[in-house]
Amino acid sequence: MAPHDLRRPFKRRPISDQQKRRELSLLRQSQNRSDAQQRARNLASSVISLQSSSPDFDPEILSEAVPELDAGSESESSSFDIRQASRLRGPEARKWFARQLMLPEWMIDVPDNLSQDWYVLARPTGKRCFVVSSDGTTVSRVRNGSILHHFPSALPGGARKKGTSGPAQSYSILDCIFHELDQTYYVIDMVCWRGYSLYECTAEFRFFWLQSKLAETGACDPPSFYHKFRFSAVPFYNCNQSGLHSAYTGSLPYVKDGLLFYNKHAHYHTGNTPLVLIWKDERCSQYVIDTDNNGEVPNQQHIVLELQDEGKLVTSDDPPVPFSCLNADFVKQSGLSSGALIRFAIGDGGLNCVDGRFEKADLQYIGVSNRARAFADSYSKIMFQYMARHSPLKIEDLASNISHENQQDKPLEVEMSD
């Protein structure tokens, strides 16, 4: 039995660089694995088939098609999610991202049960955008899908930085408005967080999650090297008298541009939805009435409609609302093709409504719309703009509706107790 060797490492690091490389690789692999799995968990709700992305493809119809996959009607379609989408370039990427935002309808009448079922928040002035953090970088894309900023952020996976908490490479998607003045992204909704989809969660849950999670990441901290822009959650209120008052008159760090109303029970729905509404007046917005390219309010209301086959002109709604028809010869002459977005002015004949539904319009052809545009106007936008010029929906109307709701409740109780 020989004596035992008792040499200890002398002037040496405890871990060799090779071991360090091995460990870093394992770390990267396990993060990538858990990211891949989280991504897969997310697919059910955000799955969209790229193969079907023909020009008139509609995200809503496609997401409804998902259950059919279960039934076995379709098996070969390549599943497509946001991470793959982030690899898209140019027009394809823009097209895809342009379809991902939930777009509010304009408030043309006051919904029932505002105080019970709705939140209200003051919309910050600025560009609405989709902010995606993943793979160590953050990209914001404006409504038409083009990139606004490409930057590092403290959002999960939003910067190439070691030692961030949690699965560093998982991705998140926020629905934001970029406010130029203080260079801040104001977050109005949360779509995915650390790879978990919130698409199928109610607004109530999403807002709660947004308020509790965003701050944890340090995304609300002032800008730093790994965090180029500050994020801030927009305060929201129950849409009762005091909530409406706070949102409408309350002082906020940003310039307001109208009020947004969210139905508490609504899921995140890509495209236009009546469960989120926008309302504006002169007091809470500088942009009540649409301006032209020079920032001037034109004498006549301008609208943009999409040209369909046989000269039909429709809104961007789902289903589209037909507005008028263009003469087939005129279409041919002007070299217009199906899918084109065309700008019109509303003439003195105005819009005629019967029982709150649009009947006919006096449209004057202006020309093909600006190419930056991805969509036609929605029906509600056209109507809201029209009303704003003629008989606007006022804040008092909203308030009185709420107080009316409350009064209605009380007698009802009395009656029932009788």
Binding site: M1, P3, H4, L6, R7, R8, F10, K11, R13, S16, D17, Q18, R21, R22, L24, S25, L26, R28, Q29, N32, R33, A36, Q37, A40, R41, L43, A44, V47, V66, L69, D70, A71, G72, S75, S78, S79, R87, D135, G136, T137, H150, R160, K161, K162, G163, G166, P167, W193, R194, Y196, E200, C201, E216, S224, F225, Y226
Partner: protein, 870 residues
């Protein structure tokens, strides 16, 4: 049945290769054809005092090798073969072995001791040879000294070979009594006393009960301490070895004896032979190890539920221990830094001083500073080196606050010494100390930076200059640069290193190309520093890192062009290839994502070509490094990686088949995962091959067990990538997962290591299930998974009930519950509702403080709600 083997055994040691080979083959043949006869002949040879010593010794050795092997599967085979022998043969062999213990030839007795222990190691756990210990001990007092010595030695080996739980306490008591009596000063024979002391070292693990008994413990400790004073140096050394082992095994029982032990160790350190003094220092190093562990674990606050409290032995002895250790620092050997294997009292003393600093923190500083101040400028290099070494040793442990002023004052002095000190030894230690300063006192967590605008230039200039010094000094300078870079890891955009980046890179490359770069690990240190500089670089220097790519690729290319090399040269070449692949791997990770990715990827084809050629060189280290680099490249390349697959595939397969060099196999399994994520369904054509290999790996008992959990995870990666195409592997993979799950559900950990392994196995299995569920989600073939749901839920329930899973498993497990509900939906609603997991376990996770667990649980809840509401 036995056969005459003397001549064969002598021939097997012949200088004549042909004779030797022939004899070896005959022995092998004999073993294969008639194992019982073979073993019996060997035992007979060993026991026969009339045979030559050489043949007897070899007989014992061959016998020993027929009972044990290093590789687990081979060992298992040998054990089974021994157990299958008939009782008569085994009794005869045992009798021969015991008889040999009385042989007058010492070597033969010693060989027999080891063989007996091997047999005991096989038989005692099977409750066979129950009379062994009794017969060894029966008349130990009446035995002649040489037999007594052999018996004690046998008991020592036996304790080393057998686990304590298969020996009855009564036998343990008898063994310890015999051993401790043999060590006693009353034992007149030094051979006996030495054998007893060494046997005690092995038997200490058996003495748990005895150390709990005050009287018995006092007795053992007294005898051990007395043995440290024996006139025989080997006995003193062996006795100190016992003390070292006691320090870590019975730390909490030592309070009573520390005063005496301090006196004994101090005397040994100052006066005794170096072999004894080293053990005496090691005693204190072991005490420090224990206290560092305890303090690490409990953060210094002794909570009622922790097993072992800290007794602060080091702290109490500080005022006498530190001067003792400082004295040793002056006993350096000339050129110790040039000898890789050197270990002397100065090195041991300094190492111990470093451990003391970690154990006591701030308190050490005032005890060491006077020594440093007195000696740092003395004319004798020994003084200056000792002072510097003392300083370097105490940099880890004390707080930054305590050290900052001293370090700031010392920095200029150190830089100066590095440039001007005439002694290589002093410069070596100074450069090492600078590295320690950067390692522990430089970085984003330190409030007042020691590296400033004012001194950064000078530091880098001196380090670069030092890299041209002797290899051992240059190596330390590279190490210092490594930590200098590491400290700027989180610096953000304006790294102070940016202005020097180019110069640093070029200097490191120049060092790597020095003709003497293979001495003192210099080349390795240079590439390691280069790697760290790259890892910690910022976007500002990305273009310079990019320029490095063709340079490193060219170097790798050059290593592949080599002419005929000697085996020594080839080994060095392979080592260099490993370093270069490692360097490329670091660069790929750095540049392989936005925004540098596109520029970087222009090199991908060429780089891949080089890696493939490295595989051709068949060196395990280079293979592993190239594989890791390819994994990183696949991650960066994404689906593009598909174009490399046709050529790469065979090396992937080769890696998966490499059972012997299991790290290569493990790394390859990880890379399969990378490739799955990069290629997604484009990996399909390769899946038959990959899955076959993975399944083979799992069924192999040759493959190191640590590779198995990642293989299960890899199933998940494959399934996630190819979706419902995984169908054809379900029949093979599911039963394997199922049986592994059963095994891991109740492997109630015998020890921490086992619990850890069990948890990593569970995690692998669960990741496989997650990947499979997710892969099949939204596919018409989902129903194929329904039959497995009950078992998987049961598995989740049982690991929950075992209460020994760690956070990682918890998160993966609750995720699987969600995936199962999400993929199978209403088909399994009933099953889910019956499971414990969907209630208690889910609730526990929902209220977890770990946000990743909580979020996984929220999601699972969501999926379950949907599944049971339909």
């Amino acid at each position: 049945m036995a056969m005459e083997v003397t001549q064969l055994l002598i021939n097997a040691q012949s200088i004549d290769g042909t004779v030797r080979k022939h004899a070896e083959e005959s022995l092998k043949q004999f073993q294969e054809q008639n194992l019982a006869g073979f073993l019996l002949s060997l035992a007979g040879e060993l026991a026969n005092d009339e045979k030559p010593v050489d043949s007897r010794k070899l007989a014992g050795l061959v016998l020993k090798n027929a009972l044990d092997a290093k590789e687990q599967h081979r060992k298992y085979e040998l054990v089974q073969r021994w157990l299958a022998l008939d009782m008569a043969t085994k009794s005869q062999i045992r009798a021969f072995l015991l008889k040999t213990l009385s042989s007058p030839v010492p070597d033969v007795r010693s060989t027999a001791s080891q063989v007996i222990a091997k047999v005991a190691g096989i038989e005692l756990p099977q409750k066979q040879w129950p009379e062994l210990i009794g017969s060894l001990l029966s008349n130990i007092h009446q035995l002649p000294a040489h037999v007594k010595q052999a018996t004690l030695e046998t008991l020592g080996y036996l304790c080393e070979e057998v686990s304590p739980d298969v020996v009855e306490q009564e036998h343990v008591n008898k063994i310890l009594t015999a051993v401790v009596q043999g060590m006693n000063a009353a034992e007149g024979n030094n051979d006996v006393r030495l054998a007893a002391t060494r046997a005690l070292y092995m038997a200490l693990g058996f003495a748990q009960a005895n150390f709990n008994n005050d009287m018995e413990r006092d007795y053992i400790m007294r005898v051990v301490c007395e043995a440290t004073l024996s006139p025989e140096v080997k006995i003193r050394q062996a006795a100190f070895e016992c003390l070292v082992s006691i320090a870590s095994t019975y730390y909490e029982k030592l309070a009573h004896y520390m005063q005496d032990i301090f006196n004994i160790t101090a005397k040994a350190v100052r006066e005794d032979d170096e072999s004894v003094a080293l053990q005496a220092i090691e005693f204190w190093s072991s005490i420090c190890d224990e206290e560092i562990d305890i303090l690490d674990e409990y953060g210094g606050e002794f909570a009622g539920d922790s097993d072992v409290p800290c007794f602060y032995f080091t702290k109490q002895a500080l005022h006498v221990l530190v001067p003792l250790l400082l004295e040793t620092l002056l006993k350096q050997e000339e050129d110790q830094d040039l000898d890789e294997g050197a270990w002397n009292i100065a090195m041991a003393g300094g190492t111990c001083l470093g451990l003391v600093a970690r154990a006591v923190g701030d308190d050490i500083v005032p005890h060491v500073m006077p020594f440093i101040e007195e000696k740092i400028s003395k004319p004798d290099w020994r003084d200056r080196e000792a002072a510097t070494y003392a300083f370097g040793s105490i940099l880890e442990g004390p707080s930054a606050d305590k050290l900052m002023t001293i370090v700031n004052a010392a920095l200029t002095f150190m830089l100066n010494a590095l440039t001007n000190d005439p002694s290589n030894h002093v410069k070596d230690t100074t450069a090492w100390t600078l590295g320690r300063i950067f390692e522990f006192l430089h970085g984003s967590t330190i409030e007042t930076p020691i590296i400033t605008q004012a001194n950064c230039q000078q530091i880098i200039t001196v380090l670069i200059q030092t890299m041209k010094d002797a290899p051992n000094v240059a190596e330390k300078a590279c190490g210092a640069l490594y930590f200098l870079a590491q400290g700027f890891e989180d610096v953000g955009s304006n790294s102070p290193l940016t202005p020097f980046f180019q110069e640093i890179i070029q200097s490191l490359l120049a060092v790597a190309h020095r003709e003497d770069a293979t001495e003192s690990r210099l080349r390795t240190a240079a590439y390691e520093a280069l790697n760290e500089v790259v890892r910690c670089s910022t976007d500002e220097t990305a273009s310079m890192v990019l320029q490095l790519v063709p340079v490193i690729m060219m170097e790798l290319h050059n290593t592949l062009e080599g002419e005929k090399l000697s085996s020594d040269e080839r080994e060095k070449q392979n080592e260099l290839q490993g370093l270069l692949c490692g360097c490329l791997q670091v660069i790929i990770q750095k540049l392989g994502s936005e925004p540098t990715k596109y520029l970087f990827m222009q090199y991908a084809d060429q780089m891949m070509g080089l890696f493939l050629r490295v595989f051709g060189c068949r060196s395990a280290t280079a293979h592993e490094e190239a594989m890791l680099a390819i994994g990183a490249l696949a991650y960066a390349a994404g689906p593009e990686f598909a174009k490399y697959m046709p050529e790469f595939y065979k090396y992937l397969e080769m890696g998966l088949q490499n059972f012997e060099e299991y790290q290569v196999c493990a790394v390859t399994v990880g890379v399969v995962g990378d490739i799955c994520r990069a290629l997604e369904d484009r990996i399909l054509p390769y899946c038959d091959g990959i899955m076959t290999q993975l399944l083979k790996d799992l069924s192999s008992n040759q493959l190191h067990r640590s590779v198995k959990p990642p293989i299960f995870s890899c199933f998940g990666d494959v399934a996630l990538a190819i979706g419902e195409n995984f169908e054809k592997y379900l029949n093979y993979s599911m039963p394997m997962l199922q049986s592994a799950a059963e095994l891991s559900a109740h492997a109630s950990g015998a020890d921490d290591e086992m619990t850890e392994y069990t948890n990593s196995l569970r995690n692998g299995i669960l990741e496989a299930y997650s990947g499979i569920f997710q892969g099949f989600k939204n596919s018409p073939k989902t129903q194929l998974l329904i039959p497995y749901a009950a078992h998987i839920l049961q598995f989740l329930d049982s690991i929950y009930m075992e209460k020994d899973m760690d956070e990682v498993v918890m998160k993966t497990a609750i995720g699987v519950l969600g995936d199962l509900a999400d993929t199978l939906g209403s088909h399994v609603g009933g099953l889910i509702q019956q499971s414990v997991s969907s209630k208690e376990f889910l609730n526990e996770c929902l209220s977890s403080e770990d946000h990743t667990i909580k979020e996984a649980a929220e999601w699972a809840k969501h999926a379950i709600t949907r599944a049971i509401s339909v």
